[in-house]
C-alpha cells in the first residue's frame, strides 16, 4: 500500500517528549498515521487513590512541568467546589496571577519550539531569553522556577512582599516590549510564511466535531476560553481582555494566536496587580471533605483542563484528570494524511502536545499480595516499554 514506514519517535529531535507516530510514506507524502503513546507512564491516577485532600495537592502540582499552576488550580477549584467554599479576594487574585504568568511562560516556550522546528535557531534563543524573565518572577515569588507549590486548599502559601509588585511589573513590561514587534516581523518573513501558512489546516467543522479546545480551536474560529465562559473562582469577570479568535486554522494562525495571548496576559496581569489589596492571606488549616464528588476546570495554556474527584472518608477514591492534550490529540491522525514529511515537525509541534500531562496511569500492583516472577517485576518496576 505504501512504500515504507518510518517511525517518528519515541526518540526524535522534533518531539520534546516521547511518543511514536508510525508514518506510512509514498514517495514523500504521508498516507497513513498511527499514534502510539505510553512511553512515560507515571502513576498519578492510581497514586492519588487513598490520599487525603492536602497531600494529593502536592502530587497534582507535579504532574507537568509546564502547566503546574493550572493543575493545582483545577484541583483546588474542584475541592473548594465540593466544600462550597469561596476564597477571599486576595487569594483569588494571587492564584489568577500565577495562572497568567504560567500562560506567558508556556506560550513563549512553545514559540521557541516552533521556531526551532522550522530551522530558525536564533528566534528560538530569543524567545527563550524572554522566557527567562518570567522564570525570574516565579523564583522571586515562590522560590521555584518550574514547580511553585503555590496553592493550598482554601488559601495560598506565599504572599507578595513589598517590592515584588515593582519587580513583576518591570519584568512583564520588558517582555511586552520585546514580544510586541514580533507580530509584524513574523507576518513579514517570507520563509516563515512559506513553512507555516497552509500547513495543517483544521477547518471550523472539524474543530467542532473533534471537540478541540484551547488555542488550536481558537485559530479555527471556535471560541472556547474557559476564562470567559466559566471563569475559575469567578475572578476573570472583573478583568477586561480579548479572546483571540482567528479563522483559517493553519499553523501560522496557531502561532499568531499564542503570540497575541502573551500580550493579553500582560494586560490581565497589570489589572491584577492594580487591584491587589494589602490584606493578609488566611492561615492554613487541614481540610475535611464530605463524601461527594465534584468537577472543576481551568484554562491551562493548552486548553481546558478538567478534573473529576470522588471522595470517601476524606480520601480520594477516584481521580480523573482529563488534560487538554488528550482531548485534541485525535485530530493529529487526521491532519497528517496527504502532507509531506517535511511538514511533520510543524504539524506535530503546532498543536502543542504536552505528554507529561497526558500519561498518568501506570501499572501498580494490586491490593492483594502476590509473588512476582522476574518477568512481571521487570515489566512493572524496572522500565516502561
Amino acid at each position: 500500500m505504501h512504500d515504507y514506514t518510518i517511525p517518528i519517535g519515541p526518540l526524535h529531535p522534533t518531539l520534546k517528549e516521547p511518543m511514536c507516530i508510525r508514518i506510512g510514506l509514498e514517495g514523500s507524502v504521508i498516507k497513513q498515521a498511527n499514534i502510539r503513546m505510553g512511553y512515560t507512564h507515571k502513576g498519578i491516577e492510581k497514586i492519588l487513590e487513598g490520599k487525603n485532600p492536602d497531600s494529593a495537592l502536592y502530587i497534582s502540582q507535579r504532574i507537568c512541568g509546564i502547566c503546574s499552576a493550572a493543575h493545582e488550580n483545577a484541583y483546588t477549584r474542584t475541592v473548594e467546589g465540593i466544600l462550597g467554599f469561596e476564597a477571599g479576594e486576595k487569594v483569588k487574585l494571587l492564584r489568577a496571577m500565577m495562572m497568567e504568568l504560567e500562560r506567558m511562560h508556556s506560550h513563549l516556550l512553545w514559540l521557541g519550539i516552533i521556531a526551532h522546528e522550522i530551522g530558525y535557531e536564533t528566534l528560538f534563543m530569543y524567545f527563550w531569553r524572554e522566557r527567562e524573565k518570567i522564570l525570574d518572577v516565579f523564583e522571586k515569588i515562590a522560590g521555584g522556577r518550574v514547580h511553585h507549590n503555590f496553592n493550598k486548599i482554601k488559601t495560598v502559601r506565599y504572599d507578595l512582599e513589598h517590592d515584588d509588585k515593582r519587580f513583576i511589573l518591570k519584568r512583564i513590561e520588558d517582555v511586552r516590549k520585546s514580544i510586541y514587534p514580533y507580530i509584524s516581523e513574523i507576518k513579514d518573513d517570507n520563509v516563515i510564511k512559506a513553512r507555516l501558512k497552509g500547513v495543517g489546516v483544521i477547518d471550523n467543522v472539524d474543530a467542532r466535531r473533534f471537540c478541540l479546545i484551547g488555542p488550536n480551536s481558537r485559530a479555527s474560529g471556535v471560541s472556547s476560553d474557559i476564562r470567559k465562559i466559566d471563569p475559575p473562582y469567578g475572578i476573570y469577570d472583573e478583568f477586561e481582555f480579548d479572546e483571540i479568535v482567528l479563522d483559517k486554522g493553519d499553523s501560522f494562525e496557531r502561532t499568531l494566536v499564542r503570540l497575541k495571548e502573551v500580550l493579553e496576559s500582560v494586560k490581565i496581569l497589570k489589572q491584577i496587580l492594580d487591584k491587589m489589596p494589602e490584606t493578609k492571606i488566611p492561615n492554613f488549616t487541614f481540610t475535611t471533605v464530605p463524601d461527594d464528588d465534584g468537577i472543576g476546570r481551568v484554562e491551562a495554556p493548552r486548553g481546558e483542563l478538567f478534573y473529576f474527584l470522588k471522595f470517601k472518608d476524606n480520601k480520594i477514591v477516584r481521580a480523573k484528570i482529563r488534560t487538554p492534550t488528550f482531548g485534541f490529540l485525535k485530530i493529529l491522525e487526521k491532519i497528517l494524511i496527504d502532507q509531506r514529511i517535511g511538514d511533520v515537525p510543524v504539524l506535530v509541534a503546532s498543536l502543542d502536545p504536552c505528554f507529561s500531562c497526558l500519561e498518568r496511569i501506570m501499572v501498580v500492583k494490586d491490593g492483594k499480595t502476590e509473588t512476582l516472577n522476574e518477568k512481571d517485576f521487570r515489566r512493572r518496576y524496572v522500565c516502561t516499554r
Binding site: 529531535p13 530558525y120 528566534l123 534563543m125 518573513d189 520563509v191
Partner: protein
C-alpha cells in the same frame, strides 16, 4: 613551496574556520558559544571511539573516506594551482559532483530510513544545483578567456557577471548546507540525514568533509569573483564565511519543493547570462 604547506594545512584551516563559524553563530543568538578550537576536540574525540560496524556493505565502510579524499583533492587546483593542465576546471567540477555522489552513497548504504530520505533529498537537489554550478563556472572561465585554472588571472569578474555571481553564491549555500537551503540535513525532520547511522572515525570524516567543502567554496568564490591575489584571498574568504553564518542565523529552512520554486528563477537567469557570454566570446 608555500603551496605545499598550504595544501598540507587544509584540514586544520577548515576546522578552524568551522570553529569561527560556530562562534559567530552563537554570538548572533545571544550566547557565548563553544571555544574556537572546539571542532578539533570533536574530531579527536570521534577518532578515539570504538569501531562500530552496523552494516557490512563496502560502500558503508568506505564512502566517508572517499568523500573526504575527493574533496581534499580539490585543493590541488583551488586557490593555488599546484597541479594544472588544460581544461582542468572540468575536472574540478567532476570532483565536486563525485564528492556529492559519495555523500549520497553513504546515506543510501546505511539502510536507515532517515539516511535514505536524506540521500533522496540530496539527489533531488543535485539535479538542479549541479547544473547551475557547471553553467556558472563555465561562464566565468569563458569570460576570463582561459582554459585552465592555472592561467586564471582576471579580476573583479563579479562586476561583469553579476547574475552568475549571485547564482554561484546561492548554489554554494545549498552545497554547504546553510539555511534557508539546508533541507538535506534538517535535524528536526530527519535526525541528521545521511550521517545518522555513522559513528566514530567515519562520522569524523563526514563532518570534516563538510568543513572542507565550506572552505573550498569560501576560497573558490573570492577567487572567481575578485581575482587570485594571495593577499586579498584570505580576508575575503573570511568575509564569505561570515555571509554564510549570517544567512544561517537569520533565516529558517525551506522545504524541498519550495527550494525548487525559489531556485528555478535563478537557474533561468544564469542560463540567459551564459548564452550572452557565449555570444560575446564568439564575436568580441
Amino acid at each position: 613551496m608555500y603551496k605545499i604547506i598550504f595544501f598540507l594545512s587544509v584540514p586544520f584551516l577548515a576546522l578552524l574556520y568551522e570553529g569561527v563559524l560556530r562562534k559567530i553563530n552563537a554570538r548572533f543568538q545571544n550566547r557565548i558559544g563553544p571555544p574556537v578550537l572546539q571542532p578539533f576536540y570533536d574530531v579527536l574525540k570521534l577518532f578515539s571511539k570504538k569501531k562500530m560496524k552496523s552494516q557490512n556493505d563496502p560502500f558503508f565502510k568506505y564512502s566517508p573516506i572517499l568523500y573526504f579524499i575527493s574533496l581534499y583533492a580539490l585543493f590541488l587546483f583551488i586557490p593555488f594551482s599546484i597541479v594544472s593542465f588544460e581544461h582542468d576546471f572540468i575536472f574540478v567540477l567532476y570532483l565536486t559532483i563525485l564528492a556529492s555522489a559519495f555523500y549520497v552513497l553513504a546515506g543510501l548504504s546505511s539502510d536507515n530510513p532517515f539516511g535514505i530520505i536524506g540521500s533522496a533529498r540530496e539527489m533531488i537537489l543535485m539535479i538542479i544545483y549541479e547544473i547551475t554550478l557547471v553553467i556558472t563556472v563555465f561562464s566565468f572561465v569563458m569570460k576570463a578567456g582561459v582554459i585552465s585554472f592555472g592561467d586564471f588571472n582576471s579580476r573583479l569578474l563579479i562586476l561583469t557577471l553579476p547574475i552568475s555571481s549571485l547564482g554561484l553564491f546561492v548554489t554554494s549555500m545549498i552545497e554547504v548546507h546553510v539555511t534557508p537551503f539546508d533541507t538535506t540535513e534538517a535535524p528536526t525532520e530527519i535526525m541528521g540525514g545521511s550521517r545518522t547511522e555513522y559513528s566514530g572515525t567515519n562520522l569524523a570524516f563526514m563532518n570534516m568533509s563538510m568543513s572542507l567543502k565550506r572552505l573550498f567554496f569560501a576560497l573558490l568564490l573570492p577567487m572567481l569573483f575578485f581575482g587570485k591575489d594571495i593577499i586579498t584571498l584570505l580576508p575575503l574568504s573570511i568575509l564569505f564565511l561570515f555571509l554564510y553564518t549570517l544567512s544561517q542565523a537569520t533565516t529558517s529552512r525551506y522545504r524541498v519543493d519550495q527550494v525548487f520554486k525559489v531556485y528555478s528563477i535563478i537557474m533561468f537567469l544564469v542560463l540567459v547570462e551564459f548564452i550572452l557570454v557565449m555570444w560575446g566570446v564568439r564575436w568580441v
